[in-house]
């Protein structure tokens, strides 16, 4: 999960850029799209071939997906909290 650990800050920070730069509905839509792209990047770099070869297959598959789900949900919680805070501050 080394590559995923390095990608996770990007997954959290990338959606905040359009959210802060474009405080409109279009900016929020772009933030959601950016969050989807960054989540896909997080998952892709967690399963890239440079990762360690699977030792225990079932546990590795389930463990990787569980860890990725937790990481993605945490990033989603951070993105939601910042989005609500920023939107209320703008209003």
């Amino acid at each position: 999960m080394g590559a995923a650990g390095r990608t996770w800050p990007f997954c959290v920070a990338a959606p905040l850029v359009p959210l802060i730069l474009f405080p409109t509905d279009w900016g929020r839509s772009m933030a959601v799209l950016t969050f989807f792209v960054s989540s896909a990047c997080l998952v892709a770099y967690a399963f890239c071939p440079n990762a360690e070869p699977p030792s225990d297959l079932a546990a590795t598959w389930a463990g990787r997906l569980t860890a990725l789900a937790v990481a993605s949900l945490t990033a989603f919680a951070v993105f939601t909290a910042v989005s609500l805070t920023w939107s209320s501050a703008q209003d």
Binding site: V32, F35, F36, V37, S39, A40, C41, L42, V43, A44, Y45, F47, C48, P49, N50, E52, P53, P54, L57, T60, W61, R64, L65, L68, A69, S72, L73, F76
Partner: protein, 182 residues
């Protein structure tokens, strides 16, 4: 949450299939875009070609309409198919990796493990010593059967087996007696 399901379901399979993270992300975006096109087509089939004029394609997230429900259902089906295919590919990838590692396992040039072992310390292997599937060279040409190309036929044929040379008795050629023939 709707953005996480395709990312967690489809992207692992595409990453394992393409072995390139960027390509997997691009294909995931394309598949989700295709799901939206499918949802739009179904909406047009149900409500007619003037569905945009009826306000059926606005995709309100607070009050989901038919287009959004179809889009979510398509994404769920896509994620389910991707998850199943990814789990299967991951299951088949593991034994292949182990078999390759068993055939050619790179030996570390130097390791401090033997020196630190008496002190009870464990030395982590270096980056270059980690065994990975993409760093193992498999000589495919040497492992496969040699073939020979015959120009008088249109297909490749297996090379002839190497047999020991046996002494062959010389043939005695006798001149035909022309007079006896008549």
């Amino acid at each position: 949450m709707a953005t996480l399901i395709p990312a967690l379901g489809v992207t692992p399979y595409l990453t394992l299939a393409t072995r390139k993270p960027v390509a997997a992300v691009v294909f995931t975006l394309a598949l989700v875009g295709g799901a939206k096109l499918v949802a739009g087509a179904v909406t047009c089939l149900v409500y007619g070609w003037d569905a945009p004029q009826q306000g059926r394609t606005t995709m309100p997230w607070e009050d989901p309409d038919f287009l959004l429900w179809v889009f979510w259902a398509t994404n769920l089906a896509l994620a389910a198919v991707g998850y199943t295919a990814g789990a299967r590919r991951f299951r088949t990838l593991g034994p292949a990796c182990r078999q390759l590692l068993r055939v050619k396992r790179p030996k570390p040039h130097w390791s401090a493990g033997p020196f630190l072992a008496p002190f009870g310390a464990q030395f982590p292997p270096g980056v270059l010593h980690q065994v990975r599937c993409d760093r193992i060279a498999l000589d495919v040409a040497a492992a496969t059967q040699q073939v020979g190309l015959r120009f008088d036929r249109r297909a490749l044929e297996s090379a002839l087996k190497h047999v020991p040379h046996k002494p062959v008795a010389p043939l005695e050629v006798t001149e035909p007696n022309v007079e006896e023939a008549f």
